[in-house]
Symmetry: C2
Subunit: 572 residues, 2 copies
């Protein structure tokens, strides 16, 4: 038996177990050392292998796919800086709690740090961002070792999923020869279990036992704050139902899935900029679910609530409290916690107080609509997308200005599209690749809402879209630079600001679309946006719908909106 046969027998069993554990997708990139990994993944029944030229794209594509499906996605790469290219996606996965299985090819120990080509120190390359690291070693394909590989695959999948989901890193030293010189024997030294079961099963964890009494008394002035939790699409609905039943105003950012129902207050970002209202609506109790929302006024308001009880509900007890105001943490499934709280909290809120919030929200909505008018501004794009897209669509939103506009301007509504974003570490790197990964999951169209800098940053991810025949609709807000920075004091810094912070680039996105075989349309009004969305969704290819805006005018418009909301609140 040659070494290559050993390698491929071991990897065949490993990949088969990945599939048996429910992994459906893997990403690859070109390389030599990774050949056994890549060919084994590509040849595993039940696994789709997505090929990318750039490992950074592969990493974020895997992230987007896993984020949308909740299933771990494998990403294999060759040795050297290829493995380092995955670092940003691995960190984002760790912070956003997305399961990834990173399989890096390496040279065996005797060829490390001795001048052999394309060899770096890959041991624990991802540091604390990896939940688990395994140096796999090289082995003969004895029954015992194939059994170990089967168990290792299962343990990898379950570790990526268990508790706080995240990335797992397996480093594979691979010796030459890297390809077989004949067919791989059909017989397996240690065949998988009968009926296609995984070697080590992981029974579906039953719904948690009803929690015992949670010692958290209702308070009439309670507010529910819900932030990013992309894992459990049903959690948002449960949060909205709880808030409605308890009559607690619900401040839910679009990534919570809870921005819906009669208790939802959509425009809290604008409302809480009004100091009088913010003071008037101080709660006694805050229930915080999921990550903290992005809104600065909301964060500042929460930070200044003084003696109010602030309680976090998080399955893994994540410590989201930059201002040190949380007074209790309930580290259990938020759904189970809400169910346990329900009997005591039902109708616990002060209806007049809730109505004060909702009335203010209606006033804000009116002021926003009047101020935005008919123009297809950046805020309007955000509002239109949430309004126009069907429930089965996924709106992938870039982590900088688009997610903020969505939070500020999108209405609360049932049947809104699911919203996803790379808000673990909030980078703009890999946005296009992550959206492509989400679209590869199938199950409804994906629309990417992105600014020009994030699109320019990750432009070559569109090469993967063309090579893999993926559909993606990109709604591009193009103000030729980083518009978000205009909201900050640094915008006063003149030429240095423009060159080093705003970074205008002058890219012609019609040309960019043509380069990658995408359709491009300039969109000037909301009607055209809806018509073009209708054309793009289901078209099977990439469409870039470009909305041209101006950075300075955009800041001014936002400020006019905030002023109009303040004025409307004063009138009310």
């Amino acid at each position: 038996m040659t070494a290559a046969t050993d390698t491929y027998l071991l990897l065949r069993a490993f990949c088969e177990e990945l599939a048996r554990c429910g992994v459906t997708d893997a990403c690859t990139s070109p390389g030599s050392r990774s050949t056994p990994l890549v060919l084994s993944l590509a040849r595993t029944p039940g696994l789709r292998a997505w090929s990318h030229v750039d490992e950074r794209v592969a990493g974020f594509f895997a992230l987007g796919l896993a984020k949308r499906t909740g299933r771990p996605v494998a990403v294999a790469c060759t040795s050297g800086t290829a493995a380092a290219e995955l670092v940003p996606a691995v960190i984002e996965a760790a912070q956003a709690r997305v399961p990834l299985i990173v399989l890096t090819a390496d040279r065996p120990p005797e060829l490390r740090d001795v001048g052999a080509g394309q060899t770096i120190d890959q041991l624990k390359l991802y540091g604390g961002a990896a939940k688990w690291f395994v140096e796999v070693g090289t082995h003969e394909a004895t029954p015992a070792r194939v059994r170990w590989l089967r168990a290792l695959a299962c343990r990898t999948v379950w570790t990526a999923l268990d508790g706080r989901p995240g990335p797992v890193h397996l480093n594979w030293p691979l010796r030459e020869p890297l390809v077989l010189d004949g067919p791989l024997p059909d017989e397996d030294p240690c065949p998988g279990r009968a009926d296609g079961r995984p070697w080590v099963a992981h029974p579906v964890v039953p719904a948690p036992d009803p929690l015992p009494h949670v010692p958290l008394a209702p308070a009439p002035r309670t507010v529910v704050v819900a932030g990013r939790d992309e894992r459990d699409p049903a959690l948002g609905e449960a949060v909205a139902a709880f808030a409605a039943a308890a009559r607690y105003p619900l401040l839910a950012d679009p990534l919570s899935g809870a921005r819906r129902g009669p208790a939802a207050v959509a425009h809290y970002d604008a409302l809480l900029r009004d100091e009088r209202l913010a003071a008037e609506l101080r709660p006694e109790l805050v229930l915080r679910i999921g990550d903290l929302p992005t809104s600065k006024p909301l964060r500042a308001w929460l930070a200044g609530l003084g003696e109010a009880e602030q309680v976090t509900l998080d399955a893994e007890g994540a410590w989201h409290d930059p201002d040190g105001v949380v007074s209790a943490r309930i580290a259990a499934s938020p759904r189970a916690t809400l169910a346990a709280l329900m009997p005591e909290h039902r109708d616990g809120g002060d209806p007049a107080w809730l109505e004060r919030w909702r009335g203010a929200d209606r006033a804000a909505a009116g002021a926003i609509a009047a101020t935005l008018g008919d123009e297809l501004s950046e805020p309007r794009v955000a509002a239109e997308l949430v309004d126009a897209l069907p429930a089965e669509a996924t709106l992938f939103t870039a982590a900088s200005m688009p997610i903020r506009d969505l939070e500020t301007f999108a209405a609360a509504r049932d049947g809104a599209p699911r919203v996803l974003s790379n808000r673990g570490a909030n980078g703009i790197d890999g946005t296009v690749a992550a959206a492509l990964g989400a679209t590869a999951a199938g199950d409804g169209p994906v629309v990417l809402h992105v600014g020009d800098v994030a699109l320019a940053y990750d432009l070559t991810a569109l090469l993967s879209a063309r090579r893999l025949g993926l559909e993606l609709t990109i709604v591009l807000v193009n103000n030729d630079g980083g518009g978000i920075f205009h909201f900050l004091p640094v915008a006063r810094e003149g030429a240095d600001f423009e060159q080093h912070v705003a970074t205008p680039h002058g890219l012609d996105f019609a040309q960019a679309a043509a380069l990658f075989g995408a359709r491009h349309a300039l969109v000037a009004d909301a009607g055209a946006l809806r018509a073009e969305l209708g054309r793009a969704l289901g078209s099977g290819g990439v469409t870039i719908l470009e909305v041209r805006t101006d950075r300075g005018a955009n800041v001014a418009l936002h400020r006019r909106v905030w002023d109009a909301v303040r004025a409307a609140l004063a009138d009310a």
Copy 2:
């Protein structure tokens, strides 16, 4: 005094000391947290600040600039995955011994791991790839602390340069406000030293004292093997002069700078594929200088030399010995070592044996020229570039197929262009950005010799070329995929090979050039290549000169060349 004033006073002193220590260039990327770093760098007299949208591009640009100049280049980025985007360039810098100063902005400790935006664990993010890591902390701009910052800047520069050069990482927690609300006071709490001296000077180290006798007896059949050493442009000449005076055949790859002079044997890669010749020309002593060359036949030959003494000459005693055949290491300046060896080794080689090598090399050159003919094949492009470019040009060569073709086909000649390549970790990531960094150094034109996959991978680096108004001439060998993999057994693997390893992409590089404001020309023969090179060099912009080739035909041509060389050797 506000915190912002403290921050900017400290950073002004820090950046001023960088410049006093000889740092001339810094790279920036957009961000908010990094504002004090970026503005301070941009406003330091004597520092040029190069703005990039993508931190990966910024990192490799800094690497290319530092590689060409030997001076440390600063690269500043904002917090979060921005810092992770620098990992590949930092690893390449560590392995290629290139001095870098990485300045990452971070949130202060109280805002880490508590749900504050864009915050990851940046402490020791680059692991063992960073020579030195400092968590800078936050400080009042007292005289003592400004003094410390001045010393820290000096220590950073000297640490990046001392001994084995490499990257240094300073992590900067920065508190809001991040901009000044008025002008920065002119007076400095701790002014720099008079006459523009650095706070801590680092006197130019005198040439090392003559080494004592190096106990290495000459042997008539000695061969000198010289690989990548891009740091000391004069070392190559010294190696060539030593080999000539000693009458030792010199096998020097283009990255050694030593491929010149009467002892040089250019076509060792083709010669050593001939088993008879390889056996006949076994040496008694091998002097290995710099990294091990890329050539597989050369590496295999060295690995099989049995009892021959193999001695490495490396300033930092780098352990380049994948086959465990080195018998002694001289960890001292190779130039000083060669000078110490010279008296005893002068005329130490067997002239007949040297002539046997040189005759074989001439026979190989003839066979290569006859086989390549007039067609502008991939090998011919490599040979033409070394032949056509002037001595003041720099040839930046991609780490995969181009560097191998250069090693195999370029003639040895005096006055050849300097050749640089990312051959620390041999990644193809960042190739365009690194070449752009090299061109930003000024001092002669830069030509990038690159394949289509490496160019597609790093295509958006061309955005920096346009934004910064840089000149770069790109000679693109386009065979629509990773041609290098066709030389490996994996090429037999059919559709899986094509999709996951060769990764054809169909990019139209004329369109790509237009997107980034570059000139593009298809080049079909050697005369046109020379004419277009003449037009491109000094044009002030980016030119893509595209040579279309075929992956299969390219492998066949290489095999015909090797056969022709074998036949020529048999005839001789």
